[in-house]
């Protein structure tokens, strides 16, 4: 087949197929083109065509990496010593711990997660202001899984035109077989997705064994079932509708990028006037767009990039690859569709030289805020204490007068040992001369040593008694002092301020 005939065939194919609402005389229309958009439209199935090129290759790589991270992370081991789980990433709800490699988060340290979410949000803002919806186009789970599901569909049903033909055919054993194989594979992928999810919440090898022998907790099977259903529905059936109708991000993004952001765009100045082109004909007086419709055929969102910036566009750049394939064939320069800025389009229209300004007030502000939050988190992380003491003074009764006239206060002392080994801590008081400390339950014993297990918290009650002769040191019935916990083995100390109350005189 000659290249020209090939292109005519492509154009005809596009005209026939992607024109569900098309009028006479209009050769093809994108499913979600502006003309076809109605408030009450029912969904028209999109058949994305496979393209080849650098962005498609990049998307394969990103897909491999992100899926690899998702499926394999729970299986990474991380030695934390004999007392703690050896799973690198584990959300241990029963024990109320979140393990992330070297990091270990207690419930009261959940602000680390808040910080991570803030970092993620700011990162998203920054990337979006620089290069548009990179997240949507490459790494969003919806995009990755949809891409995977479309690949499976393509494997069983063929590429775009074969799939369209198949759907138009009456039901036959062959059609049923292909459809059945596709759905079964989808379900298996969905089960694997739901299955991988639960491994983040329990020891992966142990849970896998339980799952296979039907001894796993009901909640594990239920979670797998829910995630299987959502993965199958979102990735296999709903696809682009999730991005267009369910996701809030397309609505927010409009505020995130500006005329200097790199967006996947059609270079109208170079492409127009578009029109079919015969091999050997002159390129004078016309644009480079030969109106072959390949950008539309490749689009997983069913839009025509040449309509300009659109809410539906996830900026996956597949139309760039599709167009570049054609540009190579018709021997015109590549990148008729490319990452481009609105400002540069204006500049080219005016004949000015184009330039990129990635560092502009918006991105600088994002970078500064991102760096600040990152540094604060890093500081908090580096200075994380493995020993903490908190003290709650009894308020009922406020104080107790003993028979020798001394005054006694009660304190609930919590000693948090975030270390991976058990430690013995001596609890003492400082700043209240002559006061005696005694451990409740060990009354009369001098020992105020508390053993706290690895990664646990001990709740111990102490009495502090101030002799009658020392009561004058109370100021208006009150004195400040502090509890000190000192590890016997490594001498690590933690201090907590509290107060002592006596009669007001």
């Amino acid at each position: 087949m000659s290249p020209a005939a090939d292109l005519t065939a492509l154009a005809n194919e596009a005209a026939h197929i992607a024109n569900p609402h098309g009028d006479e005389g209009e050769r093809y229309t994108a499913v979600n083109s502006e003309a076809n958009r109605s408030l009450y439209a029912s969904r028209v199935k999109i058949y994305p065509k496979l393209v080849h090129g650098s962005f498609r290759r990049l998307k394969w790589i990103v897909m491999a990496i992100t899926l690899g991270i998702y499926y394999l992370t729970p299986w990474i081991r991380w030695d934390r010593g004999p007392n703690l789980p050896d799973q690198a990433v584990l959300l241990d709800f029963p024990a109320r711990r979140f393990y992330f490699f070297f990091l270990e988060i207690w419930p009261q340290e959940f602000y680390y997660i808040t910080g991570l979410l803030i970092l993620a949000a700011l990162g998203l803002f920054l990337v979006t202001s620089v290069a548009g919806r990179v997240w949507c186009g490459y790494s969003c789970p919806q995009t990755v899984w949809t891409d995977l599901f479309v690949t499976v569909e393509r494997f069983f049903e063929g590429d775009r035109s074969a799939r369209i033909r198949l759907d138009k055919q009456p039901w036959s054993l062959g059609k049923f077989g292909r459809k059945f194989a596709k759905h079964i594979t989808w379900v298996l992928i969905a089960i694997a997705t739901g299955g991988a999810w639960v491994f983040y919440f329990a020891d992966a090898p142990e849970l896998a064994r339980q799952l296979l022998t039907f001894q796993a907790p009901m909640i594990a099977y239920l979670s797998i079932a829910i995630f299987t259903a959502t993965t199958y529905t979102m990735g296999g059936l709903a696809r682009e509708q999730v991005c267009i109708y369910m996701c809030p991000w397309p609505r927010i993004q409009g505020a995130m990028f500006d005329e200097e952001s790199l967006l996947v765009s059609y270079k109208e100045d170079r492409g127009e006037q578009r029109g079919p082109h015969k091999k050997g004909a002159s390129w004078e007086g016309r644009g480079d767009c030969i109106d072959c419709g390949q950008c539309v055929a490749a689009c997983p969102m069913g839009i025509d990039i040449r309509d300009g910036m659109q809410l539906e566009c996830i900026q996956c750049a597949l139309c760039i690859d599709a167009c570049n394939e054609i540009m190579d064939r018709v021997e015109r320069p590549r990148n008729l569709i490319a990452y481009d800025t609105l400002r540069n389009q204006e500049r080219r229209a005016k004949g000015e030289p184009t330039k990129l300004s990635l560092l502009r007030p918006r991105t600088i502000v994002y970078i500064v805020v991102l760096a600040t939050v990152g540094l604060i988190m890093l500081y908090a992380l580096v200075n994380r204490e493995t020993l903490q003491v908190s003290v709650l003074r009894d308020r009922n009764p406020l104080f107790v007068t003993l028979s020798d006239g001394s005054i006694r206060n009660g304190y609930a002392v919590k000693i948090v040992n975030k270390d991976h080994d058990a430690h013995d801590y001596v609890i003492s008081i400082e700043g209240l001369p002559n006061a005696r400390i005694s451990r409740v339950g060990a009354l009369g014993e001098e020992s105020s040593t508390v053993t706290v297990g690895p990664d646990t918290l001990a709740n111990v009650k102490f009495f502090v008694t101030l002799p009658a002769a020392d009561l004058p040191q109370l100021d208006d019935g009150k004195a400040e002092f502090h509890f000190v916990a000192t590890a016997i083995d490594d001498g690590k100390r933690a201090i907590r301020d509290t107060s002592f109350r006596g009669p007001e005189k």
């Binding site: 009894d394 009764p397 107790v400 003993l402 020798d404 006239g405 009660g410 339950g441």
Partner: protein
């Protein structure tokens, strides 16, 4: 509006409007989505099923307002009672152990002790707090149970006996009993002698008064008080006689209160709890009170 003179077909959607118009915005008369409609019908059907099986409609009867009970006989009050019973049943073994085991053994068993202290705290709030205070801090005439001063003894067994049989609780034959005479009212001592003995008692815990009065008071004390309070005035827990030399005063440590105490006598009453609470609860209370900081 109801006659729909404004009803017309919308140009864009081709759908008829309801005729309602607000600031130029008209409402399309679209049919309900089918899934929504069928869910609504299913909910209506479910409501009828629910009325039959569950408590539903209030109605008047000869005994006033009542409601349809439903054929399943479900009752929230009953389900709460069932849950409580299930909790009790789950603890039955441990509670039986608390009832039968000696107090010292319970105190040495961390699991039993945890349950006993929790149960004791709850029982204290229900039964003891009205007099002794929610923090067991006591008040005038009602001893503070946190301190180290005990009228009738602060060992586990002493506290247990006090709880079981009460103090001056006449309905209980084994109740702790002793009476401090009303030395003034019964004219055993003259007001001057009472003033002297009060000065003497105050001097025991360091409050100075006229030396002669103290000497006279010591004489009065030796003749009238030592039988219960002891020659050194340190009291006698067998008789519930308080230690008069320490810093803790049940009724007050100023001279006027001491004069009043000597003149009229004192005789606080505590109920015998064995007739009101079961042995397990009394033991939990014993361990709880003992744990407050003064237990011996």
């Amino acid at each position: 509006m109801s006659d729909n003179p404004h009803k017309h077909k919308d140009d864009v959607s081709g759908v008829e409007t309801t005729g309602h118009e607000w600031d130029g915005i008209k409402e399309l008369n679209n049919p309900l989505p089918k899934w929504w409609l069928y869910t609504f019908y299913a909910c209506c059907a479910w409501a009828f099923v629910y009325w039959i099986f569950m408590p539903a409609w209030p109605h008047l009867s000869t005994e006033g307002w009542t409601y349809t009970k439903g054929v399943l006989g479900y009752e929230q009050r009953q389900s709460v009672a069932d849950e409580l019973a299930a909790v009790q049943a789950g603890r039955a073994d441990q509670l039986a152990e608390i009832t039968t085991k000696p107090l010292v053994e319970i105190a040495e068993n961390p699991a039993l002790m945890e349950l006993a202290l929790a149960g004791g705290k709850a029982a204290f709030g229900d039964n003891c707090a009205p007099c002794h205070g929610s923090g067991a801090q006591g008040s005038k005439g009602f001893p503070n149970l946190n301190d180290d001063d005990w009228l009738w003894g602060g060992t586990l067994d002493d506290i247990h006996t006090t709880l079981q049989h009460g103090i001056r609780w006449e309905a209980d034959d084994e109740t702790r009993f002793n009476i401090m005479s009303a030395f003034g009212k019964d004219e055993i001592l003259t007001p001057a002698e009472i003033s002297d003995v009060a000065d003497y008692v105050l001097s025991l815990s360091g409050t100075q008064a006229e030396a002669e009065a103290i000497a006279r008071g010591q004489e009065v004390f030796a003749n009238n008080c030592v039988a219960c309070h002891g020659e050194d005035a340190k009291g006698n827990q067998e008789l519930g006689a308080p230690n008069l030399t320490d810093a803790i005063w049940l009724y007050g440590g100023d001279k006027a209160t001491i004069v009043q105490t000597v003149s009229n006598g004192r005789g606080g009453v505590m109920p015998a709890w064995s007739s009101r609470l079961d042995e397990g609860t009394i033991k939990q209370l014993t361990l709880y009170v003992h744990s407050l900081g003064g237990g011996q």
